[in-house]
Symmetry: C3
């Protein structure tokens, strides 16, 4: 029953290569196209409410899945935020019903991901962008309505603050159930933010955490009644947007010294994801999840912990 370690990871190895996929899921190509209609479109849409206050809408309906093609788009947003001399605060939000931002896309060959060059920090792309978000002299706020799992939870955790809809937010790191480890920082960030015990529960159970429990655990700053979330976040963002940018940067730098994980741990976490996702346990589970409809059926996306539970049954 023990899973043997794959000693050497073949560079550029595919997880469920296109041909294997085609075999297992005859309709996978079409389905993939169907679920990613906005691939060429903008998945991260910036609105400058004022020069000092930006909003970024996460928009890749129907499930706001994040894939290799999302990388350069998020990178553009991060770069614009870094370089703009005026912006003080940015709010990440979604209008896609039921989804804030969800898991990594397993349809494209893994090579598309592993072949991307490292970013400015020397880290792989996702780790690089999230680290830069934590370091820039702009305050980032995740306003969470709908599911934030996998990359969605990781973007939220890399934001400076998180506010959640009490009724409509769900946070999780579902990865363990699919047989691989997270890659975008939660193993480094969650224990530092909410303590070892609650971080272990979230990461080892892969269970959904609703808004109320997320607040109780400190996974979000606060869970607000859904009807109040937008107003609360907007008022807070406008307030911060009125403050001195240099002072914001000074405070953030000093909080960072006290709270950020070392970059190398975030790099190791991404590598852990890439390595584990290629092992048999993950490949088997991902294949089963895709057969059930991962990325295609709302039922699977909405009840991910139920189905990750099922695929692990003998």
């Amino acid at each position: 029953m023990q899973i043997k370690k794959i000693a050497a990871i073949v560079a550029g190895a595919l997880i469920l290569s296109s041909s294997a996929m085609a075999e297992a899921l005859p309709a996978a190509g079409a389905a993939a196209a169907a679920t990613a209609p906005a691939t060429a479109g903008k998945q991260f849409v910036i609105t400058k409410v004022t020069p000092n206050y930006w909003r970024v809408k996460i928009s890749n309906p129907p499930y706001n899945i994040y894939g290799p093609e999302s990388m350069p788009q998020l990178n553009s947003v991060v770069t614009e935020l870094e370089q703009d001399p005026n912006v003080r605060v940015v709010v990440f939000y979604s209008e896609t019903p039921g989804f804030f931002l969800t898991h990594y896309d397993f349809v494209p060959p893994l090579e598309q991901t592993t072949s991307m060059p490292n970013g400015k920090t020397g880290l792989p792309p996702l780790a690089d962008m999230l680290v830069r978000l934590t370091r820039m002299n702009v305050v980032s706020i995740a306003s969470i309505r709908g599911r934030a799992t996998g990359v969605g939870s990781e973007l939220a955790l890399a934001s400076d603050m998180r506010f959640a809809s009490r009724e409509k937010a769900v946070l999780s790191q579902f990865e363990i159930g699919a047989g691989f480890t997270p890659g975008g920082g939660p193993m480094a960030r969650l224990p530092r933010m909410i303590g070892r015990g609650r971080a272990m529960e979230i990461l080892m159970s892969g269970n959904d955490i609703d808004g109320e429990l997320a607040e109780r655990y400190g996974y979000v700053n606060r869970a607000l009644p859904d009807a109040q979330l937008d107003g609360f976040v907007d008022t807070l963002a406008r307030r911060i947007a009125s403050f001195d940018k240099q002072t914001i940067g000074d405070i953030k730098n000093q909080v960072n010294i006290a709270s950020l994980p070392p970059d190398k741990d975030l790099g190791a976490e991404w590598q852990s994801f890439i390595t584990s996702v290629q092992r048999p346990a993950a490949q088997k589970n991902i294949k089963k999840l895709m057969e059930l409809g991962l990325g295609k059926k709302a039922e699977i996306e909405i009840h991910l912990p139920k189905y990750t539970g099922q695929v692990n049954q003998p």
Copy 2:
């Protein structure tokens, strides 16, 4: 009123040596035998619910006191968990009414404890076993019903997660009231998990923390209604037991980097216990507590903070 530091700790010195004990408490020998009927029996009983899911019953009635003779027994459990290729999750629990696991046994000569060899990690036995529990690629869950004070709290804190009965769990580190420091890790683990202020309150007051407050402070993940505790923990454990063991180990390793105290701090903590427990303040308080019935009377064991308060009055 100032307590003079005992400059040199005589190696192998006894705390309340057998003869001193006999003088102070003529019936101590008999009482000790009476309170530890299971000394030769199994204090930690493993049940393999499935090959992947083990439960360890803590059983040393009537008070589940932990003493030198418990060390090799707990060590066997830890070693089995480390070496088994299948186990993914272990639940520690108790069926002893009112007690999860309580304080160190002060009846045997301290020499029995200090003469034990260090464990695999190079740390003294208790620190060694608890560190190994935090490092193994098995998820550990403390399911707390009854008192978890001293070693009981320390075993819970070294477990990966803690769930408590809202009505029947009590956690504490009572040691300060008895005039010595804890030894099994809470000075290193509590501040990292729940913050400096709440850790200080628990460690400096020696007060009982009930299930509800323990959840509010983050001392446990959650406090559940007593009737739901077993079902909740069992469901969670079965879910984790179905997951990939290597992935569990990978996640745990990375959470550990972000959250475990350095081994040397845990070694120092044990030494701090051994040193402080031999000082006059501790010897006076332990003697008074034993005269009141520590280890023998339910009244004392159940209301330990009341009696540690009393023995410190002039």
Copy 3:
């Protein structure tokens, strides 16, 4: 709109020098005198309830502002606590209606502050005293009724525990709204105690945090009904006062290893305050706040976040 960094800070530069003040606020001198009637009086009054249990009343009515003249007074208290062989616990409290301890006094020339010699730890005076408070073998408890902002919040955060009046306590770090950074440790202490996200919210919003939210965030240990606060703190303090001083010191030392920020970060934080408070953004905001009545009018002191919000409007 970007604020240019002042490359070289002129040693001894005044923030709003006396003459500039006189120009901007003709009545400033008189007002300053009026708001600081107790300058020559005792702002920190020690009562020895017992030799083991001290209380320190913070008393600089009407607003308990903390200024350069407060430094040697607080230093005396800290030194007495360090040197006394008997004291085990100290409670900081206030009887000034509405105020626990509030922000730094901006009326005296900054030179009065910057010309003070560093303390025993080698750190500037405020950082030095707060570090010594965290290190001494005396348990410190902040009993918070009224506003604890700026230095008030910082003294509370440097205390070992914090208990707040549920109805009457308000905590905040208002500095960002006035255009400068905090200086007394919260950028180092808050993230370690309550996690990065909630620390960021407090420090970046400058908003008031009431007792209930302060407890939910872990900014205080607990918020108690106002009528119960004094009794609760007194009972806890008397209990701790009965315990062994050496054991208190041993436990505190080990908790400190797990929880205190490095001294150098606290020194850098003070320097960040001194640097930022001299920049144009801060000078403009402080001038506006003083024109509105900072340090003179209850309305401004009580609703500080409202007015820091106003002065940042174009």
